[in-house]
Subunit: 199 residues, 2 copies
DNA sequence: CCCGTTCTGTACCTATCAGTACAGAAGTGT
DNA sequence: ACACTTCTGTACTGATAGGTACAGAACGGG
């Protein structure tokens, strides 16, 4: 049995190029011609390898979650609740300020969309929620281990942390530098100047 | 001199309808047909009254800044730094959870865009920066008045607050409720559970 | 009442959108 | 070397994007 002409490009490598485009321009801001140009392949190759624009985006998101977005999961391995939070936020700062374009794909690629961007938008929303859920479970464990006050709601703290993480991503899109965002993390960890010691 | 047929609609009222659409769908996610349909006017009327899509968007943003986005400026009038911050964040929570669609126009209408959305995106970024600047000046004054520690950088605190404000807007887009976001504000104000008293 | 001016509605423009048909190129297994 | 399969490149599809020409409707001033 014959096996056919082999594909002339590496699917994962070109997926990374698509990732860059979606990251910078968002789902609806990216045209197929932007993708084929950046990926160095033509339209039928794209469709045969990835399905269509929406499925390509889904593949991109998955790759982002395992690559740049992986700092969240990594942070959960830190030994204490405070260390988890610090690693998570410092990881966020690093990712959102790494490229010339700033920000986080999960946040900016499809935050508000028209009808055709509805599915990608909902999927990103789901990714954000699931990240928060993982953090919450880790903090819950910390509380069970006595690493956090017993009267503290782990869900609230997780939401607080993720709010800042997503906010850092927004800050990066309008030009905040890494040093500036690092100071945000420090202020987060130490609390506002009027903070009192925990009861 | 003749004066011509009067316009058959109220420019500001229809602008509010356009605001709703851009708020929900973002700049690039909104088609002209979405706008004309929601505004109840036809294309030539839209062009003659507002210029084009980009200028209409600019008018919408201005109106947003004076309406829903006005809570920031209002918060600056509070007497103490802490009260300013609390009012600002509580105002954010209210705005981003008010409609069935969540979020903040400044954040979500054009965060990452293609080429044609570049100007709107940059303008929103500029609005976000200028909001932070106003808060920073207010906090600077608070520090001068002894309302904040002398070694505290007002720019850092302002950035910290705006990071959370923008993060709240993102949270709202994936379904966080008002009660949940209110607890984020409370955690922000009290600091994380491991916070120590300010030196 | 009627002229001049401005708005409204229809119908159209070009460009671009996502997606695909089809023919030829480039391989592999026999 | 040949047959079979799969990929690549060109060229196209219908739909929709933002934007506009033009004719007629609706007013105000004289």
């Amino acid at each position: 049995m014959a096996v056919g002409r082999p594909r002339g490009f590496d699917v994962d490598e070109r997926l990374d190029r698509a990732l860059e485009v979606f990251w910078r321009q968002g789902y609806e801001g990216t045209a197929l011609s932007d993708l084929t140009e950046a990926m160095g392949i033509n339209r039928p190759s794209l469709y045969s390898a990835y399905g269509n624009k929406e499925e390509l985006f889904r593949a991109v998101v998955l790759r982002y979650a395992e690559g740049p977005g992986g700092h969240l999961r990594a942070a959960l391995l830190a030994p204490t609740a405070r260390a988890v939070v610090e690693r998570l936020l410092r990881g966020t700062v690093e990712v959102v300020t790494a490229r010339d374009h700033g920000g986080c794909l999960f946040v900016q690629a499809a935050l508000a969309t028209g009808e055709q961007g509805g599915r990608p938008r909902d999927e990103l929303a789901s990714w954000r929620r699931s990240g928060e859920l993982e953090l919450r479970r880790r903090l819950q464990r910390a509380r069970d281990e006595g690493d956090l006050p017993g009267d503290l709601d782990a869900a609230d703290l997780a939401r607080h942390v993720m709010t800042t993480s997503h906010g850092l991503a927004v800050q990066a899109t309008h030009g905040a530098t890494r040093a500036e965002l690092d100071r945000v993390v420090e202020l987060f960890l130490s609390g506002p100047p009027w903070a009192e010691s925990p009861a």
